[in-house]
């Protein structure tokens, strides 16, 4: 009995290392997408203490806009540019209409406001683009579709070119983002705001500009995630659920930490796949991916309440 649960899965792993690698690779691909979404969350949380629940719907909205614009006959790459413009307008509108009047309110009120944004965007998106499932324009964007077959340990390892592209693009995006945050004036301003609101304001950093900026960056991230996930699973409002996956990533990595978002995303992506394949499907009836990440994060949090890389919580009375 215990052997079945505790040892047999590891024996299986060792017996078929190529399959294990395949599972880990798939986990890595979804993990990097979780990490991307989590990065969007972290940026907004650091600079404004807003827990942005709308990140998931922004992914859907960006992907829908892209597909919708292309369906109107606009060339693919111009549609991408236009979608970015739409995301910028969205960022400005959200800052103007929603965030500015709510400055200084308790965290939970701002959190609720982002859920309001989520509902609004769901309704808005469905009216304009319709609720049915759409196909991402991956061919037009030049995303490769074939696969490469490797043969490690005398077995099979199939790498979809799409997944490789996703990993490369996501890595580049993360690198660009880190460079932006560390080496440009704007990026340093974002980090300064994250460290201390009042000090940042007193040296002349504009809160409004930075908020628009981080929401726009979150919009760019949403578009990239939307294209990547849409190419794998189609574009529909069901995509929104992957945003929930970013939440345990945030818990695990820490709400303020960029490193945490990346490491947490990769860890959760791979571990949940491993658990689903080796424990979930044989013993628990499958589909454990919906909750495994949350439970894992919960257990980690019991030992480290601020996540793996979060700011140490110091409380004073």
């Amino acid at each position: 009995m215990l052997y079945d649960y505790l040892i047999a899965p590891f024996v299986d792993m060792a017996a078929a290392p190529d399959f294990l690698l395949q599972v880990l690779w798939e986990g890595l691909v979804s993990g990097i997408l979780y990490a991307l979404i989590a990065l969007g969350f972290v940026l907004i949380f650091r600079s404004s203490r807003i827990f942005n629940f709308a990140q998931g719907i922004m992914v859907v909205f960006a992907a829908l806009t892209l597909v919708g614009l292309h369906a109107m006959g606009i060339p693919a790459w111009i549609s991408v540019g236009l979608t970015l413009a739409v995301m910028f307008v969205l960022a400005v509108t959200i800052e103007r209409v929603v965030l500015r009047p709510l400055v200084g309110q308790p965290d939970i009120i701002l959190f609720m406001a982002t859920i309001g944004i989520t509902l609004f965007l769901i309704g808005f998106g469905e009216i304009i683009f319709g609720g049915e499932n759409k196909v991402m324009i991956s061919d037009e964007l030049g995303i490769p579709t074939g696969d490469t077959v490797l043969e490690p340990f005398g077995g099979l390892l199939i790498l979809q070119h799409l997944d490789i592209t996703v990993v490369v693009v996501a890595t580049l995006l993360v690198a660009a983002l880190l460079a932006f945050l560390n080496y440009t004036q704007m990026g340093r301003a974002i980090r300064a705001l994250g460290d201390d609101h009042q000090a940042a304001l007193s040296v002349g950093i504009s809160l409004q500009t930075i908020w628009v900026l981080v929401w726009f960056i979150a919009g760019i991230i949403a578009l990239v995630t939307g294209i990547a996930w849409g190419a794998r699973a189609g574009v529909s409002f069901a995509l929104e659920v992957i945003a929930y996956k970013a939440l345990p990533v945030l818990m695990l990595g820490g709400l303020e930490s960029i490193t945490g978002a990346i490491v947490g995303g990769l860890m959760i992506g791979m571990l949940e796949k491993l658990f689903e394949i080796y424990w979930g499907q044989p013993f628990l009836g499958g589909n454990t991916e919906t909750w495994f990440a949350f439970v894992l994060a919960l257990i980690v949090l019991l030992f480290r309440p601020q996540g793996l890389f979060g700011e140490r919580i110091i409380e004073r009375v």
């Binding site: 628990l284 949350f294 949090l301 309440p305």
Partner: protein
């Protein structure tokens, strides 16, 4: 003028501590209860029962449960939907295992099970705070809904995977299932909700309520003045989940009649959270105001196009509804972040001196 309290003298501490120290409040409540118990049942149509009266009461009850946890004890929870599910499934199992059991007893008992589950998922709150805790409660949300789907014993191994409410009798009258009348169900829900409201009001203004508020306002300070945080938080989780569980049992047994696991998914949690926040955190009255708004708004919005004479397809109306509800939530948060209950408090202040300016 209307709310002037001059002349209402209190001659004992008991009178001062009474539930309604101001006479006008008691009169107002009497009028509301008169409407709820006599006038609505006499005038309401089947449509009004099923889309407004019963759901408003049930959602208000669920929001009240959440409000105890989030508004009074300060622990943010996003798992309300799943705890409602625990109540519903517990009630279903109780009814099928003990068919002779009185339905009301079963509903009230089913809350005990969700209270137990709530305490288990409340344990992390001892170490985790704020948004981290909110995400931790999502673990409960996703895990429990998954469990409702996979654990066939819960729905008696039937093929559809859904729970169907049987016809249940109480004193010779059908109270649930397809044969039950709306009026009977309404009275039953109203009775239970009234009882629970009374319980919640008295809990929150008593010793326990003060403990919760201290925990909410600053838990370390609360600990320093001798409050046992573990006890305070876990009792909050237990009471909150109990109320939410009863609301979940009512939701399925007195309103929906059947439920699939995905009914208890995250949108339900958010809907209840909206009611609690738009109504006002840390207020019992607010839950009712919030429920009237959130449940009533889509109904009204559905009726508007037909009334004005516009012909819009029902799908578009539904999407417009979602959009308008989202917009209104933002609007209400901006206008009155402390909720509708605070709005009522302001009106009441104004009414004391109205119609005079000072």
């Amino acid at each position: 003028m209307l709310y002037r309290t001059a002349g209402q003298f209190k001659t004992s501490y008991t009178a001062d501590q009474a539930l309604f120290p101001v006479r006008q409040d008691a009169v107002l409540l009497g009028v509301i209860l008169l409407f709820a118990y006599v006038i609505f049942p006499l005038t309401a149509s089947e449509f009004a029962y099923q889309t407004l009266l019963i759901p408003i009461l049930i959602y208000a009850l669920a929001a009240m449960g959440l409000n105890i946890l989030t508004g009074y004890a300060g622990q943010l929870s996003l798992g309300t939907g799943a705890f409602m599910g625990v109540g519903a499934y517990a009630c279903y199992k109780l009814i099928t295992i003990f068919p002779w059991m009185n339905p009301v007893v079963a509903i009230l008992l089913s809350g005990v099970f969700s209270a137990g589950v709530g305490v288990v998922f409340g344990i992390p709150s001892l170490r985790i705070k704020g948004f981290y805790l909110a995400i931790a409660t999502l673990a409960a949300q996703f895990f429990l809904v998954w469990l409702f789907e996979k654990w066939a014993w819960l729905y008696n191994y039937n093929a559809s995977g859904a729970i169907q409410v049987p016809n249940l009798e109480m004193f010779g009258v059908y109270v649930s299932g397809p044969q039950a009348g709306s009026t009977t169900q309404y009275y039953l829900v109203l009775g239970i909700v009234t009882l629970m409201t009374l319980l919640c009001i008295n809990l929150t203004r008593g010793n326990l309520g003060r403990t919760w508020k201290a925990t909410r306002d600053m838990d370390i300070a609360a600990e320093l003045i001798g409050i046992n945080l573990m006890k305070s938080k876990l009792i909050a989780f237990a009471v909150s989940s109990y109320v939410v569980g009863v609301a979940g049992a009512l939701y399925v047994f007195m309103w929906k009649g059947a439920a699939e696991p995905n009914v208890f998914d995250i949108p339900l949690s958010f809907q209840v959270l909206f009611i609690a926040i738009i109504g006002g955190l840390g207020s019992i009255l607010g839950n009712y105001l919030g429920a009237i708004l959130i449940v009533g708004l889509p109904v009204v919005l559905n009726l508007v196009p037909a009334a004005v004479g516009l012909s819009i397809s029902s799908a578009t109306v539904e999407h417009l509804n979602v959009m308008i509800v989202g917009g209104l939530i933002i609007f209400f948060l901006i206008v009155e972040p402390h909720g509708l209950a605070q709005l009522w408090r302001l009106i009441r202040e104004k009414l004391i001196i109205w119609p005079f300016p000072h």
